[in-house]
């Protein structure tokens, strides 16, 4: 029934993935720590002040323009990014192996679920690195991912096993897949919003977060990364919650019953709706919106851990 050999290979690949991510993180950290703060910063400040009460751009101490040759720290950064891609491939392989071993989709318990969420977050970040100048922030994104995967592989590890009857449904595949994609995507704006707050703080008072602040991309870039990712994740999350309702109607006799997991998903959904609102509300853009986004991600993580591990609800068998 369960192919033990494949399951074992899947677990080894998982371990290898974590190791590769740790190295990718170290390399990204080197670029972040030793790389020169880029001239981009001046440009970023200029963008940030368009339309606002403009502080003069000349005040910004211009960093001497770098020649085209790559600095050593930049090379580390590129290696880190390459490692991240390699890690993602290994990561994907480990999930495929687990799926083949058990003959079902590999998201039937917390170990598998968290692994899949992490993979989505990594892939999201790889895509974003191509569009925005954020490569050197990889370590900040990888840190929560490595923590998640470490917990998933140790405390929350589950042996490969078939699903319980209640979990055998096409809606499981769709509903949980949507939840995984949305949660993985939400991780990125969560991190970007924390960095946004740091950068924002530094922009307002150069004495705050001196080392970190000047090495972060402009607040506008971070804000845009957070917003763009959130608006992709939010409809997917909405879709996932609705699929959950359709599945619950078939499995439990009602489409919504305020089960703890449903409740916290609702709370997270409302918080993200508030985030989208805040961006159209005078006086709430920027810092406050970033806080709301962080709160939304906190609710997502809370839902993953607290509800699965502490409360007893219909969703509890997700950890079995």
């Amino acid at each position: 029934m369960v192919n033990e050999t494949l399951a074992r290979f899947g677990d080894w690949t998982y371990g290898a993935t974590v190791v590769v991510y740790v190295f990718a993180m170290a390399f990204a950290l080197i670029e972040q720590a030793f790389g020169k703060a880029k001239p981009r910063r001046a440009v970023a400040r200029q963008l940030a002040t368009v339309g606002g009460p403009s502080t003069s751009v000349e005040e910004v101490p211009a960093v001497e323009a770098r020649p085209a040759e790559r600095t050593r720290s930049e090379r580390f950064g590129r290696m880190g990014a390459a490692l991240m891609v390699l890690g993602a491939l290994l990561h994907f392989t480990s999930l495929v192996l687990r799926g083949l071993a058990v003959g079902r989709v590999p998201w039937g318990n917390m170990y598998e679920y968290m692994s899949a969420v992490s993979l989505v977050a990594v892939v999201t970040w790889i895509v974003l690195m191509k569009k925005f100048p954020v490569r050197r922030l990889s370590a900040f994104v990888l840190l929560p991912i490595v923590i998640l995967m470490f917990l998933g592989g140790t405390v929350l590890y589950s042996e490969a096993a078939p699903l319980q009857p209640a979990l055998r449904s096409y809606w499981l595949i769709v509903h949980v897949a949507a939840a995984i994609i949305a949660s993985g995507l939400f991780l990125v704006p969560g991190v970007a919003s924390v960095l946004y707050l740091i950068r924002n703080r530094y922009d307002h008072d150069q004495a705050k977060f001196v080392r970190l602040g000047e090495r972060l991309p402009g607040a506008d870039v971070l804000d845009r990364v957070a917003y763009r990712t959130t608006i992709i994740a939010f409809p997917i999350f909405t879709f996932g919650v609705i699929c959950g309702g359709i599945w619950a109607e078939a499995a439990w006799g009602r489409f919504w019953g305020w089960d703890p997991k449903e409740t916290v998903a609702f709370v997270a959904w409302v918080i993200y709706a508030a985030y989208l609102h805040s961006r159209a509300t005078a006086g709430w853009r920027g810092g406050k919106a970033a806080w709301i986004n962080i709160l939304g991600f906190a609710a997502t993580v809370f839902n993953l851990f607290f509800v699965n591990l502490v409360t007893v609800g219909l969703h509890s068998y997700a950890n079995g």
């Binding site: 078939p162 309702g245 009602r254």
Partner: protein, 510 residues
């Protein structure tokens, strides 16, 4: 008074209020996940209150154990709904108006726009206008002529964004209303049915159910009739004890079958409810009913198959109380000294530690019961309802119900009491726990939910853009083309798109 009302209305329907109400809604929903809820588990609520003393009682008074029906939760979402209506009405009007008006005049100074390009081309103004019109197909646009002879095109795109946004918010309103209708006219009922075809359940009234939760406008007199029997119950467990399959083989009659007397069959499984005439039947659980036969001293026999309840969901160790009334005794005083209850635990697969019975597997491999036989007054005649799973402990405490035997019995095993009565363990039946649900509005909930997804998708993906073209003839027969662009939502990405568009408008690079 009027200004006060107007200000209140404005305040209530402002974006900031909506935001704060959304926050409050999230905050108010949270206790429902952290505290036990009556609707989900009333026993846990009672335990919680008992454990937490005055704090528990205070929370109870403040409706924290019934969050989603509480006054404060309702107040928040009703305010939010009012705010939503107040916000949607003017926006819909404005939107309808915007659809009928032409794109705005070309600004005098296009170089002030966030995106701008200017070039001189070897074409006539007519050619440029024609080319621009082609490049901007799919945009809403109008052509205007300015006093100095310059010709302009104003173009705008992305109206569907606002459509999506309005659809989303209206669908939200519709969904909430459909939910409310369901709460008014829906019901749920649970019933235990023996899985050997011996018991027929009919949805004819509240009394057929073991428990029933009516909607606010349901009194149980008007249920859609249907009947069902459970012919058999298939289970399969993996060697680890993990369940692999549950299937209740139903025979049922929907409303029209009742007239013709035909029975249909259905394999009821966990993820596939039976749907008939607006009612749905679900398989919620299963369990065992040990069958006991009591042979009274006068030779009369009584057989009962009362269901016992599983106390361990993994091994299905079950407990219960099978109760017997002695036959042929008319004097109620005397009868109440001779009533018999067989209580104790049942193990589908026996595992003995000394004489202590436990279960090692959920399926029927080696069934055994460990019973206490009680004799005396069961307290079933005193009008107080009692659980079918337990005996009335107060009767035991009063000494009116006494234990007269304690024995472990395998199938066929029997125990003889001092007065000659024999209690025999005949075998085991299975029962299933079914739920019947009715919600006339749930299909509307689904429709609105789909509209929500479509609306939000359109609203977040579609971008609103404006573009202006001004064409001025130059002295040497050439033409000056000026293009300006403004992103009305989310700047990101418009830069490249603008370059492409302005390139297409002027007819390639120059």
């Amino acid at each position: 008074m009027v200004p006060f009302l107007r200000n209140t209305w404005r305040g209530l329907t402002s974006m900031r209020t909506a935001l704060i109400l959304l926050f409050l809604l999230a905050l108010a929903a949270l206790p429902g996940a952290l505290l036990p809820q009556r609707t989900l588990n009333a026993n846990k609520v009672a335990d919680y209150i008992a454990e937490h003393g005055w704090w528990g009682r205070l929370l109870d008074r403040l409706q924290f154990f019934n969050v989603y029906a509480s006054v404060w939760f309702s107040a928040i979402y009703i305010l939010l709904m009012i705010s939503l209506v107040g916000c949607l009405l003017p926006r819909t009007l404005e939107y309808a108006r915007a659809l009928r008006t032409k794109p705005v005049l070309t600004p005098r100074n296009l170089s002030r726009m966030p995106h701008h390009s200017e070039s001189t081309v070897d074409k006539t103004p007519d050619e440029v206008i024609a080319q621009a019109t082609r490049a901007l197909s799919g945009w809403r646009k109008t052509e205007r002529e300015e006093e100095n002879g310059a010709r302009t095109i104003s173009a705008e795109r992305g109206y569907l964004r606002e459509t999506g946004n309005l659809v989303f918010h209206f669908a939200m309103l519709g969904l909430i209303i459909a939910l409310a209708v369901g709460k008014l006219f829906g019901y749920e009922g649970q019933v235990i049915v023996k899985a050997d075809g011996s018991q027929e359940f009919c949805n004819s009234g509240v009394l057929g159910y073991d428990s029933f939760q009516p909607g606010l406008r349901v009194d149980g007199t008007d249920l859609t009739p249907f009947c069902l029997k459970v012919a058999s119950f298939d289970v399969n467990f993996l060697p680890t004890g993990q369940p692999d399959l549950f299937r209740a083989n139903l025979e049922y009659q929907s409303e029209k079958d009742l007239d013709t007397g035909t029975w249909q069959t259905y394999g009821l499984e966990v993820n596939s409810p039976l749907r008939t005439d607006g009612d749905r039947v679900y398989l919620l659980g299963h369990g065992y009913a040990p069958v006991f036969t009591v042979t009274f001293p006068n030779g009369e026999k009584r057989t009962m198959d009362t269901q016992w309840r599983p106390v361990d969901q993994v091994t299905f160790l079950s407990e219960g109380a099978t109760k017997f009334d002695p036959p042929g005794i008319t004097d109620s005083e005397e009868r109440r000294t001779k009533q018999i209850a067989v209580t104790g635990v049942f193990a589908p697969t026996a595992q003995l530690h000394g004489s202590l019975l436990n279960s090692s597997f959920p399926d029927l491999r080696d069934p055994m019961v460990a019973v206490d036989v009680m004799r005396g007054d069961l307290g079933i005649d005193n009008g107080r309802g009692q659980s079918i799973f337990t005996i009335d402990q107060s009767m035991v405490d009063d000494g009116r119900l006494k234990r007269v035997a304690r024995e472990n019995l395998s199938v066929g095993g029997e125990v003889k009491l001092d007065d000659g009565t024999v209690v025999r363990f005949d075998g085991v039946k299975r029962w299933v726990y079914l739920q019947v649900s009715h919600d006339p509005a749930q299909v509307w909930v689904l429709v609105f939910a789909i509209a929500i997804i479509l609306g939000i998708g359109a609203s977040l993906i579609i971008k609103r853009r404006r573009l202006w073209v001004r064409v001025v003839p130059a002295a040497d027969g050439r033409t000056v083309v000026e293009v300006g662009g403004l992103a009305r939502t989310d700047q990101a990405g418009y830069g490249e798109e603008f370059e492409r568009l302005s390139g297409a408008v002027t007819g390639g690079k120059n």
